[in-house]
Amino acid sequence: MTPSNKSTAEIVCLVDDDPGVLKSIGRLLVSEGLLVRSFDKPKTFLAYVQTNRVPLVVLDIWMEEMSGLEVQEQISVLSPSTRVIIITGREDPVAKLTALDRGVFAFLTKPFDAEEFLVAVRGALAMEISS
């Protein structure tokens, strides 16, 4: 599991039901010097976000339990200040439009460019801090 440190604000949460993807994205974020908390079940994350400050969450759309968009909808109620980046394995313009319309910070299609992804993450965190 990735390191975690409750005292720091810059914890990036990851939610993806594919363990391979979850792990690899976590490593990518760690390589950027960020702290990561990974969740393979959306519900576990939603429980977490109710009691913890989450500046940024990276969500997969297609998950067994519930879709990333549903998770995002709940986050916007539970923790409006949390920025959301969505990653998906499927080209889905409707989902993309919906997500961007709801104020999702970035919408990336897998497989994505690592640098592009990290730029989005940094941007989201910068916006969170400044806001």
Partner: protein, 859 residues
């Protein structure tokens, strides 16, 4: 001669003289005028004293000489000759006996006139034997009003007593005559005054301090409807129908001019409205009043003079009402209201006058009802919609001829032939109509006057017509302009509303802004929120804000225009796509005043674009599905997951390595994961292959390619329309049938047509053409070609387009044509790509004709 010498010759006693005096006094008092009174004196004196002749002399008009008065007395007919001489004589003061008396104002006695040197009539006297004479002045105050003279035919010495008696009688005469003359004079003045007062148009009323009328002239009776009836002054207002200028409030009695003048006030120009049974319409009077004062300037009454100013007032009200109609026009009252007011105003100016206004229809050929509040409805309805022409009543003809038409009798005038019965029913007899013209001379309508008697217009009515047509012209013209404006405005608003256009203005100096309601909806501002430039700019999506600001600032600096397409971020995180176009307005000194512009909400369009993209992607997705069977999005997802993991792990490893702080154990694990994910991906691909194998078994049937093309074109027809393109077909009806899987052939056609549409997309709409053509190749093969007019294919090797991953499109996968070729080849056909001779690309494929018995076979 000494007095008393002829005392005895006077045949009269003292008593007789007294009785003479009394008789004369009584008779003189009874006499009607001076001459008859003189006659009485002359006769009585002669009778009582025995003098033979008595005559009177009165000063002529300019008092330069004495003329012989008409009255005289003569006791002897012989003396008439002397009378005749006297009648011809005139005496200036001092000349003759009368002149001497006149001048001296004293009695004069002549013993024998024939011997007197100052007696011009001495010859005439001598002929009739007159000798003695006496002249007595009749004085009024200090003035001689007459001289009386008496003669006798013997010389007589002065008789002092007789002179006294006659003088006393004369004095009596004077007193009486003085009174009579005064009476005469007074009565003359009174007559003049009476005549003035009764003939004058102004009412004159005089009252004493108790309010009793002393004078109430006929004009006053006419004006106030009745003569002077004695009532308390507090009831005058009620009795004579006196009102304040509001025409309804009774005039306060203590403020009435007569009451005030009796109180000693001078009253100037008080207007009173009078209405009573004899003047039901009411009339207006302007009153001046003065107190009457006695010798010690105590008030002895009051007098008022009242002038009838009804006509003046009428004109004043007429002008006022005209200005009210003009105000109605200015306040944009409805045309029908304005014209009705105008007609009523005109009708109010003359008794029995009916007016109407007709409008000329926009077609310039028919009349439309304008206003006719007092004409029968039957008439109004019958006229509405009638045609204009050279013999179409007064109005239709006036509009047609563009000049006034006077019909004195509608029963006989040929212009009214078609309307006679109607006019008769409605009781109209004369009708004069004048066209209403616009300032440009265009006929707008007509104004007509109707009368129930046969006659032409009076000068006053012509004047009213002129005013009416002028005002009506203004009203109609204005209404037309307003209507045009309204229509234009409505059209603009409608266009703006339906185009989701927002209007806005930014005042750079004040940094304030205005936005239409629609704009506030688009930008998500509350209707009442005061807007500023910053508020509007803050709505721009952060990603596009810098670019939008730059365009805006450039426009401000150059006073030019700007256009920006960007997203708006609304409250609650919603976004909207908009196109903003603006323009700077500067004053004549080049100072920037404001920026005006429109914002167009293109979210829906973006949505459509997206949907279009989705459709297209679904189609290309279908292509893959057709080829790969049951390969679905979840398969793609499956493949994406391991690929993502591999890519991320590799990136992470590279970054760790770059930092040089990688834990070898972590690297080990990372590489292991990558191998595992690669195997996973391989599994997925194997799964797909299995599906593709299955795909070979898609059922084939005998097809007419023309029909498949028609079906396919139906599928894409909405896309073609959206892209403003046109697809033409040139079908060969002898095309042989082919044996193929219809879904797959449709995928091929879809692919080629969509490619062609993409190829022409950058051309102007008129040039976005595609031609789909079929051809029979000797009945053995069916050929289909799809031709576009776009940029064409790579010149060196057009066939390259069929290679894997070749794409001229930014978003293309480069898979479509590869799949197309595999489908065609699977069906035993061939596909080629080439550039058309002039421009564009042409894709052609052919399939072998189906064998006759193929229907029974299933592949």
């Amino acid at each position: 001669m000494k007095p008393g010498e002829h005392r005895e010759t006077i045949d009269s006693s003292r008593e007789e003289q007294l009785s003479l005096l009394q008789t004369i006094t009584m008779e003189v008092a009874a006499a009607g005028d001076l001459s008859s009174a003189l006659e009485v004196v002359l006769r009585r004196v002669c009778e009582k004293t025995g003098w033979a002749l008595g005559q009177a002399w009165v000063p002529n008009q300019d008092r330069t000489a004495l003329d012989c008065g008409p009255g005289w007395f003569c006791g002897n007919t012989d003396l008439k000759r002397f009378r005749a001489a006297s009648e011809e004589a005139h005496f200036i003061p001092g000349v003759g006996l009368p002149g001497r008396v006149w001048k001296s104002k004293r009695p004069a006695w002549i013993e024998d006139v024939t011997l007197d040197g100052n007696f011009p009539r001495n010859k005439a006297a001598g002929k009739v034997g007159l000798k003695a004479a006496v002249g007595i002045p009749i004085l009024s105050g200090d003035e001689v009003i007459a001289v009386i003279e008496f003669f006798v035919q013997e010389a007589r010495a002065q008789d002092e007593r007789l002179v006294k008696v006659i003088t006393a009688v004369a004095a009596q005469l004077d007193l009486v005559m003085e009174r009579k003359r005064a009476e005469e004079k007074l009565s003359t003045t009174n007559e003049i005054l009476q005549s003035i007062l009764s003939s004058m148009a102004d009412a004159v009323i005089v009252a004493d301090p108790q309010g009793n009328f002393l004078l109430f002239n006929p004009a006053a009776e006419r004006m106030f409807g009745r003569g002077a009836t004695q009532t308390a002054s507090s009831e005058w207002s009620q009795q004579y129908g006196l009102y304040l200028p509001d025409r309804v409030t009774p005039f306060p009695p203590d403020q009435l001019p007569l009451t005030r003048s009796i109180r000693g006030e001078e009253v100037n120009n008080v207007e009173i409205f009078v209405r009573h049974a004899k003047a039901p319409q009411g009339l207006w009077t302007r009153v001046n009043g003065r107190p009457l004062r006695g010798p010690d300037s105590e008030v002895t009454g009051g007098v008022i003079v009242c002038r009838d100013i009804t006509e003046v007032k009428k004109e004043e009200f007429f002008l006022f009402d005209q200005s009210r109609v003009l105000e109605m026009i200015a306040a944009n009252a409805s045309l029908s209201e304005v014209l009705t007011s105008l007609v009523l105003l005109m009708e109010g100016q003359a008794d029995g006058l009916r007016c109407s206004i007709l409008l000329l229809d926009q077609d310039g050929k028919h009349v439309r009802h304008g206003a006719a509040p007092n004409l029968p409805e039957t008439y109004v309805k019958a006229v509405d919609g009638a045609a204009i022409g050279p013999r179409n009543g007064s109005c239709g003809t006036a509009m047609y001829l563009r000049k006034p038409v006077v019909v004195k009798d509608v029963m006989t005038d040929p212009l009214w032939a078609d309307y006679r019965t109607l006019a008769e029913i409605c009781g109209l007899r004369a009708c004069w109509s004048t066209p209403i013209l616009s300032p440009q001379g265009e006929v707008l309508g007509s104004f007509a006057m109707y009368r129930q008697e046969t006659r032409g217009p009076l000068p006053e009515e012509l004047r009213l017509t002129q005013i009416a047509t002028h005002i009506a012209g203004i009203a109609i013209e204005r209404q037309r302009v307003q209507e045009t404006l309204r229509e234009r405005e409505a059209r603009i608003n409608l266009a703006a509303e339906s185009a989701d256009l927002a209007f806005w203005v930014i005042y750079p100096e004040q940094k304030t802004a205005w936005m239409s309601d629609k704009g506030r909806v688009i930008y998500g501002f509350d209707p009442d929120l005061p807007l500023t430039r910053d508020l509007i700019c803050a709505r721009v999506h952060p990603d596009e804000r810098a670019a939008a600001h730059a365009a805006f600032d450039r426009a401000c600096e150059s006073h030019g225009t700007f256009e920006s397409e960007h997203r708006l971020v609304l409250p609650h995180g919603r976004t909207r796509w908009v196109i903003v176009r603006g323009r700077c307005l500067a004053d004549e000194h080049g100072n920037l005043l404001e920026l005006i512009g429109v914002t167009i909400d293109v979210s829906a369009q973006k949505q459509t674009d997206l949907q279009l993209q989705i459709q297209r992607e679904e189609m290309s997705h279908l292509n893959r599905v057709a080829l790969m069977g049951e390969m679905t999005a979840s398969v793609a997802h499956e493949l994406n997951q391991p690929l993502t993991a591999i890519a991320n792990n590799a990136s992470a490893a590279r970054r760790f390595l770059e930092r040089g702080n990688i834990d070898p154990a972590l690297l080990q694990q990372l590489l292991q994961d990558m191998v595992a994910d690669s195997q996973r991906a391989g599994e997925v691909i194997r799964g797909i292959r299995a599906l593709v194998q299955k795909d070979k078994n898609i059922a084939r049937s005998v097809l007419n390619l023309n029909a498949v093309i028609a079906d396919t074109l139906r599928l894409v027809s909405s896309d073609v329309l959206l892209r403003e393109s046109a697809v033409a077909t040139e079908m060969d009806h002898t095309l042989p049938q082919v044996e193929a899987a219809p879904v797959q052939i449709q995928q091929v056609l879809l692919n080629l047509i969509m490619n062609a549409l993409d190829a022409v997309e950058s051309l102007p709409p008129a040039e976005r053409r595609i031609i789909v053509r079929t051809r029979s190749l000797n009945g053995e093969k069916a050929e289909v070609s799809v031709r576009d007019f776009g940029a064409g294919l790579p010149k060196d090797r057009p066939d390259k387009v069929f290679d894997h991953f070749f794409s001229t499109k930014q978003t293309g996968m480069g898979m479509g044509l590869t799949i197309v070729r595999s489908i065609i080849e699977m069906h035993g056909g061939k596909i080629t790509a080439e550039n058309a001779p002039d421009r564009g690309a042409r894709f052609s494929f052919h399939l072998p004709a189906a064998r006759r018995d193929s229907r029974s076979e299933a592949a």
